[in-house]
Symmetry: C2
Subunit: 223 residues, 2 copies
């Protein structure tokens, strides 16, 4: 009994853009450790957003990402120089777009398209420009103006305000289960992109639809 | 310039009680997977407390722990029966006390001692009884009455109210870095127990003291 979807809102990191693009750069720097470093870096990056939100100690996503990298290198006993850290951080400004992203964005473009991201504006700008998507989105929304990270409901509320829509008129797309759950919790119509057939988390709320690719996102048929 | 510590407040899981006590039971059930299952179970248990707090979807620690176990088994492709899940869950009611805990509690007993835990009362009761510590604590405080988990500042505020003390009059002891950070963020005088020489997280706030054993916790010398 949902209403028609009037805008599609996408998560950025992990959904449109592949955060593990950093593996190649990390592997070149620390041979044999690229994948593990990338995974631990990402895990800690997310943990730090959650912990800082809960403690009321917001720092922007760039700072959180840099802290997570420093932690991961120290925990893995990898000596990283400030220059190397800058180099890995800079890969975040030109992450690869997932192969299915461009086609999906074209297919859904009859509705408004937007991004809602943990990323700070200074990170999102270069990322979108590098992918040549400057004309694609009606809005690029960052948690930075709220000083709180996903999955706090206030983050998702930002999209309803900015787009002037009810929650269930927004189709939200994320490959991060916890983000998809947070968006469902708020009331969006949610597509979880489960590219690698991973196990769904059990946090008391589920996305409405599960697909394996961005190009499978479609206007849901509601009876 | 801190005031005197008038009460010691301990975290329970991982600090006084060894959550990896479950390894033996898990290993017997799933040979070769006991340690990995225990680790993933614990990691997801914590993640789910953070995510549920952020989403405003509290469920008690028992339910969160059971969900995390179900996730971990599915992710590791271990077929667990309801009876086996009950068996692993029941180990939480009689986790081993760390070897240094009893001596530490005796040494600090001239001040009031208390527990402040994510655990629900129905989990903490049997745990404390099993360890024979029913007479040790002036207060056993659970987040359950607040319906929010650590490291939300409201959790730590519960201890100041219940004990009738200022934040810095409370010495807080945790082996979980994120909990120690949350307690510092609130204003407690914090000892982080770093038993296994792990890397400290970088979340913008640090514990006041770092020691490797519970028996090294002591009244700080303040100049």
């Amino acid at each position: 009994m949902k209403t028609t979807i009037k805008a599609w809102v996408f998560d950025a990191y992990g959904t449109l853009f592949d955060v593990h693009s950093v593996i190649a750069a990390a592997e070149e720097m620390f041979p044999g450790n690229g994948r593990s470093l990338s995974q631990l870096w990402r895990q800690k990056q997310l943990e730090y957003t959650w912990l800082r939100s809960l403690m009321g100690r917001y720092a922007d996503f760039s700072e959180v990402t840099r802290s997570a990298l420093a932690y991961a290198c120290e925990a893995m006993d990898l000596a990283i120089t400030p220059g190397q850290a800058d180099e890995l951080m800079s890969t975040y400004n030109h992450l690869a777009l997932f192969p299915d992203a461009r086609d999906a964005l074209i297919a859904l473009a009859s509705s408004r398209l937007a991004i809602l991201s943990n990323g700070a504006p200074a990170m999102l700008g270069p990322l979108i420009q590098h992918a040549g998507l400057e004309q694609t989105f009606a809005a690029v929304m960052s948690v930075d103006e709220l000083k709180i990270f996903k999955p706090d409901p206030r983050v998702y509320a930002l999209a309803t305000r900015r787009l002037g829509l009810q929650a269930d008129e927004i189709g939200f797309v994320s490959s991060n289960y916890w983000d998809a759950a947070g968006a469902s919790n708020f009331g969006f119509t949610v597509f979880w992109i489960n590219r690698n057939n991973v196990t769904a988390d059990l946090v008391g709320v589920q996305p409405d639809f599960v697909v394996s690719k961005l190009t499978e996102v479609a206007r849901p048929v509601i009876s």
